[in-house]
Symmetry: C2
Subunit: 442 residues, 2 copies
């Protein structure tokens, strides 16, 4: 077995963290000044700011503005070792993980592997629908959206044009809602200027939700206002609407009705990423790993799970906590403390989620805010949303760039990122991928 | 034959422009308020600012900062029709071009198709070396450079590590020189912080040039200072050095000596992009199209060529003008005037190149400037370089972002764009490409 090169064996206990999302990054940062050796592993070399994927997909923000190089977070830190790698298997009985760049032993393993799109076993939808759960997927969605208009220009068949201009989003959670709003605003403010040859009265944005309301889980008034704002922007909101199938051209609803579209965007649910090798009895609802109040995975002695992947059942959260950044960050901070306490032989503290509230923005000046003791909507909620998201973005420069971008778009009603930068699939590009596989085979 | 949809037939004469680079974009803009119908075709939906590709490749600038959506340049202009398409053939006898989205007739055809990397018929080098003649290629180069360090971390064989850390750039023109300088500065200021586990004294940057000096074509003093600056930054400059072959691991020089590197960057020359269907007798040195003083292609009555693709021989420029932005822009501006004059039956004006000078930056505070009546180097040249490039970037917002980026990097000695955003080659990505081919087959 080949071990990951360059990570020294020393007398420090080793914490291996899988995943550099909100949970994994926060944990590594909180352990910066600890006595542990930290190994952080992620498939990418950057942290992604998920809440703003929809703005990348709708050409509002540059991918780099919402991603942050993980190495930069740990510059000059010699006891933190970051590696680009994918987890292949956990061998818990030998305190070992296998990755595509080699194996590594751990004293503590922390799984912060997050969740991915859930297609609920529908193969057709999985193949034909478009997800938005990573930065690459958001860039891909942007390319698909812009390509549709370019294709529509060259199309004379009116049915085909309509199908290209229709966008059907499935899932009325914050992701689907924010994306639908952003698409509707593109239709209103930008697309007619860019494509004077197309008739945008033919463009339709649908938001389909299986439940009886959008923004389920938000306050009653926020959910209602959210729907109202969407409709104000021209989004066709269909609640109690269940999607049965999609063949790349036609969406089949449970009622037997169909919708014609070339673009079905799937934001209907997530499931935990699999951690191969762990006891299957540890896996609960939605593919999440069942953990105790200290985020220790059931049936394991030194394997922890935090963030979206963790399923911690409490009286208040019978099906686990909401899969949002705040939970991930709070669990990570507590786990850092608990690991240190454990080393000192001190008692561990149980996790208690401090819900700071929920926000969702639908469009210009239109957002909803549910705070612990109050709920409000409209311009004030929108300002709060801007402020909270701006402050959460990693890196002063990223924050500055997002701020300028937003201010610019607000006053000009324009966005300037409508670039179809397709990956170049030629010998040179392939070279890179071949090279990557070289790492795997070493 | 299928014609490109949506472009109306009317009594206006139609100018078809192929290529949205400096030449094509300038021509379309200069014809904005003319009585022509304009059809602009490019393979991408954005204009690329070539002079700064090297900063994208070395993680200094964001791709979007140096690209500009072509549609945005012509918003609300109903007589300008932009299409993403690739030229397949010119059928000059029928005043027709064939593209991958259909055919289109023209009254005037303007080829502004530019130049691509010239491998001088060496298949090995073409396959294994890395070019930097488009934005996608610059992004790809950035990915390759960053991947090398990630791979080096997982490598225990010292020879392999050395080969990953060595960068060999071929071509001592401004592109190769600026890239070599930028890589050397990354080595100095950023990489050791990001990769404390690697020994950067082992990293080498080579610049190989077949001629006797770098920055050939610049003044003697600029060329000498350029070399001095490069060496000051630690670049190994080898002049009179001809590369014979490369197998992906070893560069073979004409002397029989070899250099070990995983990364050979090829900036040794360009050749004109082919315009299928034109008289082969019109093609001259370097694959460029031979034109008269009005940029009319030889042996053709209404086909023009401007910019890098045009070969206009004059007393001063026996082998054609330098392939730089200034020539392209000036030829485009004049051609716009000449087309209007021609319609009015007025005499055409002959092209005369006004050389405003040449600049090249090697690093922080280090640049060379050759102006018509003076030549200077160092900090003042560097400031001039910054100013000229900033002012040449299209779009006020792009300009602002580049300015902030440069200022930020200058004071922090840092860049924050070290993101390995790999194109996601999965079913969803493939979907996009399949869809693109649908356009072609229509």
């Amino acid at each position: 077995m080949k071990y990951i090169a360059g990570i020294p064996e020393n007398d420090k206990k080793r914490v291996v963290i899988i995943g550099g999302g909100f949970a994994g990054l926060q944990l590594a940062k909180s352990l910066k000044n600890s006595n542990f050796q930290i190994v952080l592993i992620d498939k990418n070399n950057y942290h992604q700011f998920q809440p703003l994927f929809y703005q990348v997909a709708t050409a509002g923000l540059e991918p780099s503005a919402i991603s942050f190089p993980l190495r930069k977070a740990f510059q000059n830190q010699k006891h933190i070792h970051f590696r680009i790698a994918a987890l292949e298997k956990v061998e818990a009985e030998s305190n070992l993980i296998l990755t595509d760049i080699g194996a590594i032993e751990y004293d503590y393993l922390v799984l912060a592997i997050g969740a991915d799109t859930n297609y609920f076993e529908n193969k057709n939808i999985q193949q034909k629908a478009i997800p938005m759960k990573s930065l690459s997927e958001a860039i891909n969605l942007r390319n698909v959206i812009l390509s549709n208009f370019e294709k529509a220009l060259n199309e004379t068949d009116k049915t085909k044009v309509a199908s290209l201009l229709n966008f059907v989003i499935v899932g009325g959670g914050p992701t689907g809602t924010e994306l639908a709003g952003a698409l509707a605003e593109m239709k209103k403010n930008i697309l007619p200027k860019d494509y004077p040859e197309l008739d945008f009265s033919k463009m339709k944005v649908y938001l389909l939700e299986a439940a009886g309301k959008v923004l389920n889980g938000y306050s009653e008034v926020s959910s209602k206002k959210g729907k109202k704002y969407l409709e104000k922007l021209g989004v066709k909101v269909l609640t109690d609407t269940f999607v049965k199938d999609y063949d790349g051209k036609k969406v089949l609803l449970a009622t037997g009705e169909t919708l014609d579209t070339d673009t079905l965007i799937w934001a209907a649910g997530v499931k935990g990423n699999p951690a191969n090798g762990l006891s299957t009895e540890s896996v609960g609802r939605g593919g999440r790993l069942m953990v105790d109040a200290h985020n220790l995975v059931q049936n394991h002695a030194n394997v922890y799970a935090i963030g979206d992947i963790a399923l911690m059942k409490t009286e208040k959260f019978e099906n686990g906590h909401p899969q949002v950044a705040q939970v991930a960050i709070q669990q990570a901070s507590l786990l850092a403390k608990n690991l240190k306490r454990k080393e000192k032989g001190q008692a561990l503290k149980a996790f208690k989620y401090l819900d700071k509230g929920s926000l969702a923005t639908i469009g210009r000046n239109l957002a909803v805010a549910d705070l612990p003791f109050m709920s409000f909507q409209g311009f004030a909620a929108w300002l709060l949303w801007l402020f909270v998201h701006l402050m959460s973005i990693l890196g002063v420069k990223n924050r500055l760039f997002v701020f300028i971008n937003w201010t610019w778009s607000y006053f000009t009603y324009d966005q300037s990122l409508r670039l179809l930068i397709n990956p170049k699939v030629d010998s040179k590009q392939t070279k890179l991928f071949e090279d990557s596989s070289v790492i795997k085979n070493n």
